[in-house]
Amino acid sequence: MKLIAIARKEFRQIGRDRRTLLILLFVPAFILLLFGYALNFDIRHVRLAVDDRDRSAASRSLIAAFVNSGYFDLVAEVDEKETTRLMDRDEVRAVLVIPGDFSRALRTGRPAPVQVLLNGDNATTATTVMGYSLTIIRGESAKYAPPSAAPPITIEPRIWYNPELRSALFLVPGLIAYIAMITAVVSTALSIVREKERGTMEQVRMAPLDAASFVVGKTIPYFVVSLASALGIVVVSMVLFGMPMRGSWLLLLAALSLFLVGALGLGLMISSIADTQQVAFQVALLVSFLPTLMLSGFVFPIASMPRALQLVTYAVPARYFLVALRAIVLKGAGLEVYWTDLLALAGFAVVVLALASVRLQRQWV
């Protein structure tokens, strides 16, 4: 079959083309490691100074609770004057101030306030550190409360799917979508435009071959390679970032396939517009890189975007894929949870493939 001749040729070319291999295999691995380690919202080793004016067993116990939490590194014991200096020079990020009557207040059952000074130049970090501090202090406080005096309503927060709130678990699925999107779009767009540029396209068009066979034959190898690449990323994420895999591999494969077919369709559409590899590369990056990074819920929650931007996200396939991927990987949820998202992915794929084939067909003859 003619389609097979095209696919076989394309496989051979991919195998021999360092640049394509680089885009398909090395770049994903590189982005995964880079982002996986750098894009980390977890905060550890916060430099902490202590201004302990009480110097009692109780105050030392509180300090120990901070240090033992693993979030703080005790770097200095300070008095009031030094506090300002160290904070100004960013030598410490947080200061715990324990007032002189701390242990006495505890003994007599009066409220015993302590102060936590935080560097708020990075709001996200400050908020997180404040959360850590509150948790530690609350824990410590419980030791002194008489059991009978327990408040009538207590909160026992339990965070499902990601109990330690590791941002990796939130980010890695996004990373998978991001990498798969870029590699699939870029490699497909380049492969067809390259044939236009080199004149091989014209030679093939001279053969009694319909556009569909050409396009499908060319797309199959990229589908196979990007699927393998994406699955590789999933496995690496499990090994390196402790990403769980709670759901069905089959459903994961289905979601990935739908997503990749859409991405390949987008690549085909670009190749029908661009005439040089350079243009194709730039357009491909523009339509895959930015939306997938910014508008998919990968980093920024869609719910907190302005309404107009939220509307735009409906056209970003990664948005749906992420819902499905997180549901499968983190929750082990079944199809009933994200079938609408899979449907949206399929819809996206159908639309771009239809547009691309109409355009390519028109150029074919």
Partner: protein
């Protein structure tokens, strides 16, 4: 029966008329040359004949199939090779042959036979595993021809097939074209090497989208019947041309390599000596002067000039 029959073929791109009412026939087994400067409409014509481009108007019948109505049917019957050797450079010789065999839908047995034929023809036996990118230009060009005729088409289009290869490879390539024609294949070839055009049975000269002249080499040279062309080797060709242009018996002059060709208004081999005399008297050394047969280049220039005037 004609292999190719073209009637009033026209193609416009917006306001630009690339091919303008071209009419000609090509007989079976003929080597038909398409001559014209860049942008004259050669490639557009070929692309229409191959079913790649829809004619705006007019009819082209190739191998008995109307190109406008059944472009896919045409593709099955023809071979095409373009000025850029459109092979996959990262693939080996063998892989290229197998790929094009697959695209043309050859079955395994036929492909094996044709593969051997092409390797033999292109002189590539023993180099099947070489990457196409590593082949010298002449071999690559012969491989491209081989890939274009894998499916044994009865009509072959060659669009400036010899661009960018050395003279020896060009001569070898034309030997292959003659061989093809000898086996009854019709060859339509475009070129701007005028020496190559002499290999063709008939030549069409295209200028500004129009068919400016058509005939055998001998017929085309009849354009100069009743006029003589004198070739002059002068010490200072530029100054010689200026002087020649002022002489009453000379119609026009043109540069021809390092020599000057002067077209006389009338037949007269005897005119050479007086012309030389006058040049010498004006201080131009004349190394040689003699009447010559009109070359295809003379014809081409004459035709293009006339087409430009009308």
């Amino acid at each position: 029966m004609n292999a190719i029959s073209v009637t009033n073929l026209t193609r416009t791109f917006g306001d630009f008329v690339a091919v303008d009412g071209v009419t000609f026939d090509v007989q079976e087994g003929e080597v038909f040359g398409f001559l014209g400067s860049n942008g004259a409409g050669k490639s557009t014509t070929i692309r229409m004949l191959c079913g790649l481009l829809k004619p705006t108007s007019g009819i082209a019948v190739v191998g008995g199939v109307d190109v406008g109505k059944d472009p896919e049917g045409v593709k099955q019957r023809i071979g095409y090779m373009s000025q850029r050797f459109s092979l996959y450079e990262r693939l080996t010789v063998d892989e290229n042959i197998r790929f094009f065999g697959g695209v043309y839908g050859l079955d395994r047995r036929r492909l094996d036979a044709r593969r051997r034929f092409v390797l033999e023809m292109a002189g590539l036996a023993g180099r099947e595993r070489m990457r196409t990118a590593d082949l010298a230009g002449g071999w690559r060009q012969r491989l491209a021809l081989g890939c274009a005729i894998l499916h044994e088409p009865r009509i072959v289009f060659l669009d400036e097939p010899t661009g960018g290869v050395d003279a020896l490879s060009r001569r070898e390539f034309w030997r292959l074209i003659d061989q093809l024609a000898g086996s009854g294949v019709t060859v339509l070839v475009t070129t701007h090497y005028l020496d190559e055009a002499e290999h063709c049975n008939r030549i069409a000269i295209i200028h500004a989208g129009r068919l400016a002249a058509l005939g055998t080499t001998a017929e085309l040279k009849q354009l100069f019947a009743g006029r003589t062309i004198v070739e002059i080797h002068a010490g200072n060709p530029v100054e010689a041309m200026r002087l020649l242009d002022t002489m009453p018996e000379i119609e026009k002059t043109s540069v021809f390599g390092t020599a000057v060709h002067a077209v006389l208004k009338a037949d007269g081999a005897g005119a050479a000596a007086p012309i030389a005399d006058r040049l010498e008297r004006s201080g131009i050394r004349v190394a040689g002067i003699a009447p010559v047969q009109p070359s295809l280049e003379d014809v081409f220039l004459e035709v293009v000039e006339h087409a430009g005037q009308s």
